[in-house]
């Protein structure tokens, strides 16, 4: 459970604001993003209707490259990859299949992959924690926002997310309000 002070909800309906605050904390801790999103400010007014959320994104770990996952050695059978970190094997295989085709890749066992090539593989990124974090954050915010609010405008950078949703076409004043929230939070 995250610190309730991390979530501040403003709404003309006090009871609703309290309930949304609890719901936000529950959803964020449920989806494992409680540590990644902080200083959350929500404005919700079902009579307007509008939902605005601002949250500060935590710094995510650096990208995972092929050299972080496996060591490469040239053998008579082709390029041999010894897996160091099994967690990213699927991402690595996807990348290799995309580049060399399925027919040219053979996974001998859990820790060994052979690629039918004599060249070195460029050290590409196989997994981006930042992208994964954004996906999870957006998923959790969509769960917090009322379901009927399907008109969405969002602004996500490496440091914050601003999410505005409504049932009606978005009004300029709501977007301005979102910007104000952003300014107040010092982003």
């Amino acid at each position: 459970m995250i610190d309730s002070e991390k979530v501040a909800v403003e709404s003309p309906d006090n009871q609703g604001a309290r309930l949304i605050e609890e719901l936000t904390s529950e959803i964020l801790s449920d989806l494992d993003v409680a540590q990644s999103l902080s200083n959350i400010r929500i404005y919700i007014d079902p009579d307007e209707p509008v939902f605005i959320l601002y949250g500060k994104l935590a710094v995510s770990p650096p990208d995972v490259k092929i050299s972080d996952v496996a060591t490469m050695t040239h053998t008579d059978d082709g390029l041999k990859l010894d897996i160091k970190n099994e967690r990213y094997v699927n991402d690595l295989l996807d990348k290799l299949i995309e580049r060399y085709g399925k027919a040219n890749i053979l996974q001998l066992d859990r820790y060994t992959v052979l690629v039918a090539t004599d060249d070195d593989i460029p050290d590409e990124t196989v997994y981006e924690p930042a992208t994964e974090l954004r996906r999870k954050v957006i998923d959790s915010i969509r769960r917090v926002a009322p379901e009927g609010y399907r008109i969405i405008k969002h602004d996500i950078t490496s440091s914050y997310i601003l999410f505005i949703a409504s049932e009606e076409p978005l009004k300029e004043e709501w977007i301005d309000q979102g910007r104000r929230l952003l300014k107040e939070a010092g982003a």
């Binding site: 609703g16 719901l23 959803i27 209707p49 009322p146 379901e147 049932e167 009606e168």
Partner: protein
């Protein structure tokens, strides 16, 4: 007066209990066998409960009162998205099931939001087939009180509404229960179970009122007797894979057989007193799959009672 009870115990020798219930003039509404455990939903004459309790104790099983036995309740959520599932909709439905009700979760096609919130004709028809509708709504009082009643104002069955905020009553609903709303976690704590118990109590009260209303102009035949006659005369009922091939309602039942093939057969079920089923009940296709829905005529409509 039949008392609704739930028996939970082992499979071994549970047939002794079912025989006892039948001998006492009770009914077995549902039997669920899960590996070595069996759950029976039974109706027993109120005077003979002690006999059933003794038998249950002998078989090392437990008997609990399940007030919602013999009813089918629609648990209606604005949609089946993760905003409402699995908590609270499934939790509430499961709790009602543990109190003996047969519950169906219904996710509406256009239940979300304010502007487009409405019931379609088939949804209205389907919900009206139940004994009671329980609506699971959200966190904002103004939505629940001023807008969402559009979902249930035209329903013929009593409606109970649950939501997050506390409030005494909402328009068109039989009762309103706060403290639920949208949740991302289950019901674990004591006060949360108290809310669920509150829902069961309100539903029981609404159904008791409906029963009293039915007693003023009684049904032409007891639904349980009708169930026994149908099961006996149409053996295909027993071959249905559904856990409740016949789902009881207060004033009828849902029979899980295709209407096209069995509609006439059901209408022609004979009673020993002479009349056929079509004299005492109305049979029509259900909005649920291709099932049959059966509504028993009251004594004043049928002109006699069996």
């Amino acid at each position: 007066m039949l008392e609704p009870l739930m028996y939970t115990g082992g499979v071994y020798r549970h047939d002794e209990l079912t025989e006892l219930v039948e001998d006492l003039g009770g009914h077995i509404l549902q039997k669920n066998v899960m590996q070595l455990e069996v759950v029976l939903l039974i109706l027993v004459p109120a005077d003979d409960i002690s006999a059933v309790e003794e038998k249950a104790a002998e078989l090392l099983g437990t008997i609990t009162r399940a007030p919602l036995i013999g009813t089918e309740i629609a648990v209606v959520a604005p949609s089946l998205a993760y905003h409402h599932m699995p908590h609270p909709t499934c939790d509430v439905a499961e709790y009602l099931r543990r109190n003996g009700a047969k519950t169906n979760i219904i996710g509406l096609a256009r239940g979300v939001g304010r502007r487009a919130a409405q019931l379609t004709k088939s949804e209205r028809g389907l919900i009206n087939e139940h004994d009671l509708a329980l609506f699971i709504l959200g966190d904002f009082l103004s939505c629940i009180r001023d807008v969402k009643y559009q979902l249930y104002e035209d329903l013929d069955v009593p409606t109970i509404v649950t939501g997050g905020p506390e409030c005494d009553a909402v328009p068109y609903a039989y009762a309103y229960i706060g403290g639920i709303g949208r949740r991302a976690k289950g019901f674990h704590r004591d006060f949360e179970f108290a809310i669920l118990d509150g829902i069961v109590a309100k539903i029981s009260k609404a159904l008791d009122e409906r029963r009293e209303e039915l007693e003023k102009d009684p049904l032409s035949v007891s639904p349980f007797r009708l169930m026994d006659e149908i099961t006996e005369q149409i053996p295909e009922v027993g071959e249905s894979l559904s856990p409740t091939p016949i789902t009881m309602h207060l004033d009828g039942m849902r029979i899980k057989l295709p209407y096209d093939q069995y509609g006439e057969k059901v209408r022609n079920v004979k009673f020993i007193e002479g009349p056929t089923l079509s004299d005492v009940a109305e049979v029509r296709p259900s909005y649920m799959r291709d099932y049959l829905i059966l509504k028993i005529k009251t004594k004043s409509v049928a002109g006699f009672a069996l």
